[in-house]
């Protein structure tokens, strides 16, 4: 927040009282009010007070809950309740965006891609997302138009996807086509570039309507160019779109004009799930982690194997030599990309929480109700992890017996 710059001369002139012979000033009169809300520390403390506690306990996470806004400060117009989507009725040109949408959802890289597309489209252009399945997130992410192409999400046919994009380019004649520089998106971008014979500006790190920038020659130089037609955007280098939501109007695209289909050289494609016991921690999808509250590590390993998870540990256990250093989760260990994290006996130091920041679902078992891990968790259980572990094994064994017999 930036404060308004004060002008002492104007303030002094405003405080001058008229009618006096000599210049006189009423310095008690406040000049233009600051826009900063006035804090009332007593009210804040009252709002932070935890009601059920016998002793005085303040919940410091309720910061600024009772901030009293000075009455004469004009209320800022808030239209968060029903933001009107921005509509571009007759765009001058189109920017075609081909997001990855792994699992049918927009990832962080996809959002940054829309941010880059909005940057290129400006006020007069429109972004068009070419997706396999529509999503409600596309409008807020910055898509003016959405073209849905029916395709089997499990099939692997990259040539057919490239042909789809080329057909869409022929039908719509977009000014730019944007791909994410990810494993799938980068592959698709290069296939499209070879298929159309147009140059591809790969791994763009700076994107604006006037210029693109990318590193080259082992990051010794950076190449700059006016925006080309085919662009692939590097991850974490362009801000995602933060304006009001866009319209995301459905648009029909005729993909009949694509290049002729060739007989695929790929005879078969099988998906092999990762083995949780051997997959590196950074790639694991489900991590069960032990902290200082776990003393029986043999049982912990049994629980990990029974749940089909990858084992992790807090710094304390790794420092003590009870778990390998490769299993350490956190800022100085591994930063996880898991979708689910199960913390057993971990209080949740900030350095540990940095490692699980990207985890979507967190379960924590801890004896301390006020542990940071419990506050971060989607399911927090106040219990001794040493008692819960055998109970989990027993419960799984009981289920196995019931379904087996």
């Amino acid at each position: 927040m930036t404060r308004l710059r004060r002008d002492p001369r104007t303030e002094r002139a405003a405080a001058r009282t008229s009618g006096a012979e000599r210049p006189r000033y009423d310095l008690a009169l406040k000049a233009a009010p600051s826009r900063r809300p006035r804090r009332d520390p007593r009210a804040e403390a009252a709002a932070q007070r935890v009601p059920a506690a016998a002793r005085l306990r303040l919940d410091r996470s309720q910061f600024g809950a009772a901030t009293v806004v000075a009455t004469h400060v004009p209320e800022r117009q808030t239209d968060k309740a029903s933001p009107k989507p921005i509509i571009v009725e007759n765009p001058d040109f189109l920017v075609l965006v081909v997001p990855d949408m792994a699992g049918g959802r927009l990832g962080e890289h996809d959002r940054q891609l829309f941010g880059a597309a909005r940057e290129l489209a400006g006020k007069t252009g429109a972004t068009l997302a070419l997706v396999g399945a529509s999503s409600a997130d596309l409008g807020p992410a910055g898509a003016d138009r959405v073209a849905v192409v029916a395709r089997d999400p499990d099939a692997y046919d990259p040539d057919a996807r490239a042909a789809e994009v080329v057909a869409a380019m022929r039908a719509l004649d977009p000014k730019h086509v944007l791909f994410p520089e990810s494993a799938d998106g980068g592959d698709l971008a290069r296939r499209v570039s070879v298929l159309t014979g147009e140059p591809l500006f790969t791994e763009a790190e700076q994107v604006s309507a006037s210029a693109l920038g990318r590193p080259a020659r082992c990051r010794k130089v950076e190449q700059r160019s006016v925006p080309t037609r085919l662009i692939s955007v590097a991850a974490d280098s362009v801000a995602s779109y933060s304006g009001a939501p866009r319209e995301a109007r459905n648009e029909q695209v005729d993909l009949a004009s694509g290049p002729a289909k060739t007989a695929g050289a790929i005879v078969s494609a099988t998906r092999i799930p990762a083995d949780p016991a051997t997959v590196p921690l950074a790639l694991a999808d489900f991590v069960v982690s032990a902290g200082n509250g776990v003393t029986d590590l043999d049982m912990f390993r049994q629980v990990v194997a029974a749940l089909g998870a990858t084992p992790g540990a807090s710094r304390v256990l790794c420092d003590a030599g009870l778990m390998p250093r490769a299993a350490q989760v956190g800022a100085s260990g591994t930063v996880l990309g898991a979708s689910c994290y199960f913390a057993l006996g971990i209080a949740g130091a900030p350095q540990h929480l940095q490692g699980v920041a990207d985890c979507e679902h967190i379960v924590a078992v801890n004896t301390d109700l006020h542990a940071a891990m419990i506050a971060r968790a989607g399911l927090g259980i106040i219990q001794d992890a040493q008692l819960v572990m055998p109970a989990i094994l027993e419960e799984l064994e009981r289920e196995r017996r019931e379904t087996g017999t």
Binding site: E108, D154, A183, D187, R190, P199, L200, T202, E205, P215, C218, V221, E222, Q223, R224, A239, A265, I266, V267, S268, A269, T270, R271, I272, P273, A274, P276, V279, L283, D285, F286, A305, A306, L307, G308, S339, C340, F342, P350, L353, D358, I362, V363, I374, A375, R376, A377, G378, L379, G380, I381, I382, L387, V388, A391, I392, E394, E395, E399, T403
Partner: protein, 274 residues
């Protein structure tokens, strides 16, 4: 099975010394397990070919041409005359524009398919090869592909063989002069300036120290959070298992056995990325 490995003039990421890019050294190791491999480098200097000999090749060809000229023509001509079954390349050749387009352009010129991000390869029956492709989160995709095929190598492939000086001395390099090509055939070269490192994008910038801490440690789950106190361990275990099943990382109780997840829930649980 005959294999050609495309080599490029990389630089070490820390010291800046000329070196063979790691994925290309990994490609050499992968090729050594499949059959007779030859290296192929197009450029002004021969050192990538020499380094490749030290990493396990017996023979490499260096096609000399001017710096900045398009390598696709000479590469494709040489591959057509050699007719290898598999052409291996790194994920992205270094030293030039580093667009990663060369393997794709070579594949298009030869009219053969390209398979990106291989971590393992095995020969299969009559003209087929089995390729393991790396996907995010340690998942593999096993492809059976007809040869000839162009394959690029993923960094997660087995690590390269260490450099051996004697091997580099014993191997042979064939030096070929490329037919001169016109430099200005494609688009004009983009403007270049010294690389300037820019600040990384942060997930949430500004705010108070508490806000920034929240941004790096992840938001506390406010609405949907469920905290259970005074539970017996047995009830707690039931709650945990029910939660894990709802999230989709644990197979339902009726499935074959503990720890085994069916393919459907495997896909459902893969949505969270990056």
């Amino acid at each position: 099975m005959r294999i050609a490995v495309l080599l490029s003039a990389g630089r070490h990421p820390v010291s800046g010394k000329p070196t063979l890019p790691r994925t290309e050294a990994q490609a050499i190791r992968m090729a050594a397990g499949l059959g007779a491999a030859t290296g192929l480098h197009v450029g002004p200097d021969a050192f990538p070919a020499e380094a490749a000999l030290g990493h396990g090749l017996d023979y490499a060809a260096h096609i000399a041409c001017a710096a900045g000229s398009d390598p696709v023509g000479p590469l494709a001509a040489r591959i057509v005359s050699d007719a290898p079954d598999i052409v291996l390349a790194g994920r992205r050749g270094q030293g030039g524009d580093e667009t990663g387009l060369v393997p794709y352009a070579v594949a298009a010129r030869l009219g053969v398919p390209i398979v990106p991000d291989a971590v393992a390869m095995r020969p299969a029956t009559d003209g087929l090869v089995e390729i393991d492709q790396a996907l995010p989160k340690g998942v593999l995709r096993r492809l059976v592909v007809r040869t000839p095929v162009v394959v690029t190598v993923h960094p997660a492939a087995p690590p390269p063989l260490p450099f051996a000086f004697g091997k580099a001395r014993r191997g042979s390099i064939e030096r070929i002069a490329a037919a001169p090509t016109d430099l200005a055939a494609g688009a004009p070269p983009p403007e270049e300036r010294p690389y300037r490192k820019r600040p990384k994008m942060m997930r949430a910038a500004g705010g108070s120290a508490a806000d920034r801490l929240k941004a790096v440690t992840g938001e506390a789950t406010a609405g949907g959070a469920k905290v259970l106190d005074h539970q017996t361990p047995e009830d707690a275990a039931k709650e945990v298992l029910a939660f894990l099943r709802r999230v989709g990382v644990l197979a339902p109780a009726s499935a074959a056995g503990p720890g085994r997840r069916p393919a459907a829930s495997e896909d459902a649980s893969r949505h969270a990325t990056s």
